[in-house]
């Protein structure tokens, strides 16, 4: 079965994505590293199992589109784009620096493979609706993947887009919402209650799966089902994730939107990640 044979390789991919992200964090001394670590398994499956693209031609017409709505997760997407060979690994050292193509917040005009300028939260799904409509107009079978965060569920525009995607039955949209239950002012569920999320999304006409976003087998299965499900509906994967995943001392650090990592800790984090991989 494709799923099972791919899984060990995907674990390597996820490891490499986490490692790339930690190395970028060390360059800048900061970054949304806890989010990058929590979403690496999803990105590994997206880029090395689910999506169709050509690393040497990031704007290939038949590629699947990947929209990063939560632009502050750019460090994670860069890590995946480097692993995918879309961004040269050498540029990792420039992360967040002057002249870099890897700014702290993702922008379409800076980075190969970055499809939108995020950062102002709640934009991605609206763009995805337009892309989904456009791909159907062109009779393209490409899909639009949109990653966004649970905090973005507070934005009214997200629900405008969710409602319209259901209205237009955009079965070429696959949304992934990262439920790490952390936003700027605290736990997302306390900042603004968004549950029951699955039922809400279903009521808006979406086909919804909720999974442990750090269980590679579950993520693979969810992407497979999202792609193959026959319902003429947009698809949402609600991914519950653990901030700092893969680096135990960061998993246990007091939860914060912007987790502080001391300069000497980056190497410790890389070592902990490596240790976890061998265990």
């Amino acid at each position: 079965m494709e799923t099972l044979t791919n899984t060990p390789k995907l674990a390597d991919r996820a490891y490499n994505i986490r490692r790339n992200a930690l190395r970028m964090g060390e360059v800048q001394g900061q970054g949304y590293i806890a989010q990058a670590l929590d979403i690496s398994d999803v990105l590994a499956v997206a880029y090395f199992h689910a999506m169709r693209y050509r690393p040497e031609d990031p704007s290939w017409e038949d590629r699947d589109r990947f929209l990063l709505s939560n632009g502050h997760y750019a460090i994670a997407l860069y890590a995946a784009l480097i692993e995918a060979g879309i961004v040269p690994e050498a540029e990792l050292e420039t992360y967040g620096s002057d002249e870099s193509r890897l700014p702290m917040s993702g922008m379409a005009s800076y980075t190969p493979g970055m499809e939108m300028s995020g950062g102002s939260l709640g934009l991605g799904l609206s763009i995805a609706v337009g892309m989904g409509l456009g791909l159907k107009r062109k009779k393209s079978d490409a899909r639009v993947y949109t990653l966004f965060s649970d905090g973005e569920l507070d934005e009214g525009s997200v629900w405008e887009a969710i409602q319209s995607a259901g209205h237009y039955k955009l079965d070429n949209l696959i949304g992934i919402v990262d439920v790490n239950n952390q936003q700027a002012d605290g736990p997302s569920t306390q900042v603004m209650a968004f549950e029951p999320l699955v039922e809400k999304l279903q009521a808006f006409g979406w086909f919804v799966q909720r999974i442990d976003g750090n269980d590679l087998n579950a993520v693979v299965a969810a992407f497979d089902v999202a792609k193959s499900h026959p319902a003429p509906k947009p698809r949402m994967i609600v991914a519950d994730t653990l901030m700092g995943k893969g680096v135990p001392f960061l998993e246990q650090r007091e939860k914060n939107h912007f987790i502080r990592v001391e300069q000497h800790e980056w190497q410790l984090a890389l070592a902990a990640l490596e240790a976890g991989r061998q265990a």
């Binding site: 922008m107 379409a108 005009s109 499809e115 939108m116 300028s117 950062g119 102002s120 709640g122 934009l123 799904l125 609206s126 763009i127 995805a128 609706v129 337009g130 892309m131 989904g132 409509l133 456009g134 791909l135 107009r137 062109k138 009214g156 525009s157 405008e160 887009a161 409602q163 319209s164 209205h167």
Partner: protein, 336 residues
């Protein structure tokens, strides 16, 4: 603190034409119906990449003409302006050229960040076409976009256009389609006055055009204020005032050369007339340009005041805020 107004005096005669989409055409004026809708249909026949989008205002932006002709190229996004412009960016990213319509207040105020980030910053080829520009509704501030030009002028990559009449709208639809990049266009809809056809006028993107020459005063105007300026010429002439009218439909990028040249001709009062607040529109754009260029003619602005405008009948409001034909003539005479 906001206080509630006093009740009106009983018995006083009052105009009652405070409809939201009151026509700006005067009684008996030559008009053409829905020039934008018909021009877009014409364009779309030769441009299969053109799509129409709206946020529940198809009928009120003349886009229903397009929808009827090309139903499969028309996207109703519901009453959701943020979605409208985000989705327009997405369609543009896929190679289409969306003409996205709503009211100017909603594009400029509600959806500003969406236009800024998903269209302007990404340089997407979206044409934003907005009805009820400036003071063209008697509904009050909710529908009066007195500051839309200031907001869109301040947005990098954005081309900003304020057309005068049906004749111009028909010409500028193919012109903005030929321009690659985002455009904000003020729309006059419904029965739209036809004015500029009598002046052998041709719209060119980025060009100001001298419609009438005169030696005493130079009126620099955009949008419906060019119509008002031309209407005011007769009253000015009766008082032996010889006025020139320079029409500036492209607010950004400004035709700096033409404006500098005309404003630099000695002996003329320069009056900038616009259907927009005094802040950040054509008047201040021209003033800054002239200051930077070392051109210092006597300078006045005819524009809406920096306040929340009243609800009421448009003719009353245009008089009250100084943008009616009679008020344009009166103010200019007073300044000379």
């Amino acid at each position: 603190m906001k206080t509630v107004r006093s009740a009106p005096q009983p018995g006083k005669p009052r105009l009652t034409t405070s409809a939201m989409i009151a026509s700006i055409a005067a009684e008996g004026q030559k008009t053409r119906p829905a020039p934008f809708g018909h021009a877009l249909v014409e364009l779309a026949r030769s441009r299969p990449d053109v799509v129409g989008m709206t946020a529940d205002l198809g009928k009120y932006t003349d886009l229903h003409i397009f929808a009827k002709e090309f139903p499969d190229r028309y996207y109703q996004m519901g009453m959701a302006e943020q979605l409208l412009f985000g989705a327009a960016s997405g369609l543009a990213a896929e190679g289409f050229m969306p003409f996205a319509t709503t009211y100017a207040v909603f594009a400029s105020r509600r959806a500003y960040d969406f236009i800024h980030q998903t269209i302007a910053e990404e340089d997407r080829n979206v044409k934003i076409v907005c009805a009820l520009p400036g003071l063209t509704s008697g509904y009050g501030p909710s529908h009066q976009a007195a500051e839309d030009l200031a907001l869109f002028r301040a947005m990098p990559n954005m081309t900003v256009i304020d057309p005068c009449d049906a004749h111009e709208i028909e010409q500028l639809v193919p012109a903005i389609a030929a321009h690659q990049g985002p455009v904000y266009m003020r729309l006059l809809r419904g029965q739209v006055p036809v004015v500029l056809d009598e002046y052998d006028y041709k719209f060119e993107l980025g060009k100001a055009k001298l419609i009438r020459d005169g030696k005493d005063v130079l009126i620099i105007s955009s949008g419906i204020m060019t119509m008002r300026a031309l209407e005011a010429l007769q009253a000015l002439k009766n008082d032996r005032v010889d006025a020139a009218v320079l029409h500036v439909p492209t607010i950004k990028p400004l035709d700096a050369d033409t404006i500098r040249r005309e404003a630099g001709r000695s002996g003329r009062l320069v009056v900038v007339a616009e259907n927009h607040t005094t802040i950040g529109g054509l008047g201040e754009a021209v003033a800054a340009l002239l200051m930077r260029s070392g051109v210092h003619p006597p300078f006045r602005q005819i524009a809406l005041p920096d306040e929340f405008l009243d609800a009421g009948a448009l003719p009353t409001l245009h008089d009250r805020y100084g943008i009616s034909t009679a008020e344009v003539a009166r103010q200019i005479k007073q300044w000379l």
